[in-house]
């Protein structure tokens, strides 16, 4: 894996972590929850660590497995679609439980905060990924967190 890709990934990951913490803190304040930057940061740190672990497992296990099984491109694309969707749902569920655990609030509020954070983040991610492709002319498919569709 290209060291520059890893470096870019780590830098963006740290920036995203801070932005997510600020955003979560603002959302929690709007819901009149007892919140601080420290608590929001912890929520997102635990959340992102779990996501990175899941992404790593998928990246390092799936690719050799697909080659070994000799699947066609269409089959691989379909499996990636299903896995991506499954991880998207897992991402939301993890978010709900982490927000619920750290803020000790009801599940509907945790669900709203989680969905807002996840969707807003995805919008920004797509803009970054498409911009990189447009200006550098390549899709970044390597990376632990940012450059995965999950």
């Amino acid at each position: 894996m290209d060291p520059i890709v890893i470096l870019v990934d780590v830098v963006i990951l740290i920036i995203i972590l801070i932005l997510r913490a600020l955003y979560t803190n603002w959302l929690a304040t709007k819901l009149k929850w007892e919140s601080s930057f420290r608590r929001a940061f912890l929520v997102n740190l635990v959340w992102i660590i779990l996501l990175v672990v899941i992404s790593l497992i998928v990246i390092f296990i799936s690719s050799p497995l697909f080659i070994e099984l000799g699947l066609t491109m269409d089959e691989i694309a379909l499996i990636y679609l299903m896995v991506g969707f499954l991880i998207f749902i897992i991402n939301v569920l993890i978010g709900i439980f982490i927000v619920h655990y750290f803020y000790e609030k009801e599940y509907w509020g945790s669900l709203v905060v989680t969905i807002i954070v996840v969707i807003s983040e995805r919008v920004i991610m797509v803009v970054i990924i498409v911009s990189i492709y447009f200006f550098l002319g390549m899709w970044f498919t390597e990376g632990f967190y940012l450059f995965t569709p999950f």
Partner: protein, 153 residues
């Protein structure tokens, strides 16, 4: 089943989700103690829909048509389309926030929060519908199809 059937189902779901905006607006404005009858939520969503449908969507189609007419590169068209979708999402956000602020007389930050909640939940449901449709399409036809630009967001 053909691609057209799947696209039709996706469009029907998109309108249903849009209609769901009425209930979401009512739910979140109630949570923020801006209690108004359902009529207000319907009005907000209808005005929003009209602005989006007759203004922004047509403009977006015109931009794509223009790019195709001048023979722009496919990458450029894809890029412009995705950026368009994001800009439309942001315009959506501002339009609903302003409508909620005007009709419910809530604070601007509260309006932004309510809007974020409404739009995010709508996009979340759209992602689920689009992905489920794509998976069913893949399993029944053996092909892969993306029905919605926000399928992966």
């Amino acid at each position: 089943m053909s691609t057209i059937i799947f696209i039709t189902i996706n469009i029907i779901f998109s309108y249903l989700i849009l209609l769901g905006g009425i209930f979401l607006t009512k739910f979140f404005t109630d949570k923020f103690e801006c209690r108004k009858p359902y009529k207000t939520a319907v009005l907000v969503n209808v005005i929003w829909f009209l602005i989006m449908f007759f203004g922004i969507s047509i403009l977006s189609v015109l931009i794509t048509d223009y790019l195709i007419t001048i023979g722009a590169d496919i990458d450029l068209i894809t890029y412009i389309n995705i950026i368009n979708s994001v800009i439309i999402l942001l315009i959506n956000l501002l339009v609903i926030a302003l409508l909620i602020k005007v009709f419910y007389k809530s604070g601007f930050k509260d309006s932004i929060f309510i809007t974020l909640a409404v739009i995010s939940i709508q996009v979340f449901i759209r992602i689920i519908v689009a992905n489920v449709l794509s998976i069913i399409f893949g399993l029944t036809t053996g092909g892969v199809s993306s029905f919605y630009v926000f399928q992966f967001i």
